[in-house]
């Protein structure tokens, strides 16, 4: 809306676009035009839009659906993702340290070592895919249940993922592998990267795509893939070479794991319901565009 100028003007314009993006298209158009016409200071313009956005979000949270979404998706899925992302980030760090920090060509010379390397690569890759699938379905479901509050509910899901269990599940791996976790990168940076790339981005992407995905069959495929990956993650499904299980979710361990199964399959079940709903001819509203 405010074009040209230096870095500050560009930052203001960027902030305004983000904030105004939370409003309905017609209202965004009118509000941005009013601000352009009044030519207030940058700070005042931002304060005005923040005030309007807060009022709008507060009004939306007076309904019960955002609270249902928070209690059934944000808290349980966020805690499960929090526990498992730290657990798998720790596992990935151990193998990354083994193969990247201590690389020798001997890993490729013997057939057994090559097979082991392939097993680890596929296993960790599938873990990463599973984490991304859970986060994607979580974000998607939040958008389906309560489209206009995704601006708060999806960041809340990410916040719970980062802060819900902290590095509780990483500590066991750290105590058993002190050489790996002596490095700040593997102890601090790697779990943050893992959560950012495999939870925050897929969750946001899932929420955004829920506004455009119209195919019930596509949702059904995602739900089935998610269910298969979940079964594999819990050690209930293993296809040697094709779907190796690496770091399966412990059946009886710390409390966050007990939540995981149901919590992570819940959003996939919602996708099946949404797919069925669409298959019988219903179309969801497009929701606000940003």
């Amino acid at each position: 809306m405010r074009s040209g100028g230096g870095p500050r003007a560009r930052l203001t314009a960027w902030l305004m676009e983000i904030l105004a993006g939370t409003l309905r298209p017609a209202e965004r158009e009118a509000v941005c035009g009013d601000i352009e016409e009044r030519a207030d200071t940058d700070l005042r313009a931002i304060r005005d839009v923040v005030g309007l956005v807060l009022r709008r979000q507060a009004a939306l949270w007076c309904a019960w659906l955002p609270w249902v979404a928070s209690l059934t998706i944000v808290v349980p899925v966020g805690l499960a993702l929090s526990a498992l992302s730290a657990y798998w980030a720790g596992g990935s760090s151990i193998y990354a340290w083994l193969y990247l920090d201590n690389w020798t060509w001997g890993h490729l010379h013997s057939p057994g070592a090559r097979r082991e390397l392939a097993f680890v690569a596929v296993g960790l890759g599938l873990n990463a895919l599973t984490m991304a699938a859970w986060a994607w379905t979580g974000g998607h479901t939040l958008q389906v249940i309560s489209p206009e509050t995704r601006w708060l509910s999806v960041p809340l899901l990410c916040l719970v993922t980062f802060a819900g269990t902290g590095d509780l599940t990483l500590q066991a791996a750290a105590s058993a592998n002190p050489a790996v976790f002596a490095s700040t990168f593997y102890r601090v940076v790697a779990p943050c990267l893992y959560r950012t790339l495999l939870v925050v981005l897929p969750a946001w992407s899932g929420a955004r795509q829920a506004r455009t995905v119209r195919s019930g069959r596509g949702l059904l495929v995602v739900a089935v893939v998610c269910a298969l990956l979940t079964m594999r993650a819990f050690g209930r499904l293993s296809v040697p070479l094709a779907m190796p299980v690496l770091f399966p979710v412990p059946a009886s361990a710390a409390w966050p794991y007990h939540l995981a199964g149901g919590a992570l399959l819940g959003p996939a079940l919602c996708l099946v319901l949404a797919a069925t709903w669409r298959a019988v001819g219903h179309r969801p509203p497009a929701g606000p565009r940003c």
Binding site: A30, G33, L52, R55
Partner: protein
Amino acid sequence: MLGEFEYLILSASARLGDDAYGAAIRRVLEETSGRRCSLGALYTTLDRLEAKGLIRTTLGDPTPARGGRAKRMVRLTAMGTREATAFYHAVVRASRGAEWARA
């Protein structure tokens, strides 16, 4: 019964006539009341008035002065005019005999 701010918005809209839209109403409100009017208060009150059937809003044409953005045009309905009139008369009646109303 209208609220004070709702009445002020209806009055500003009536005064502006065909030129009543968000930024113009805000300017009139600030000039007449001497207080700053926040965008959030204005737009949420416009929504409330529209939900009560006291105004009707439409998106107008985009103009270059607004960076090519459309205006949210506001028009009083017959019910809005009736409610504003009733509020005005109530205030006049309530003010009779008051020290500030004698001048």
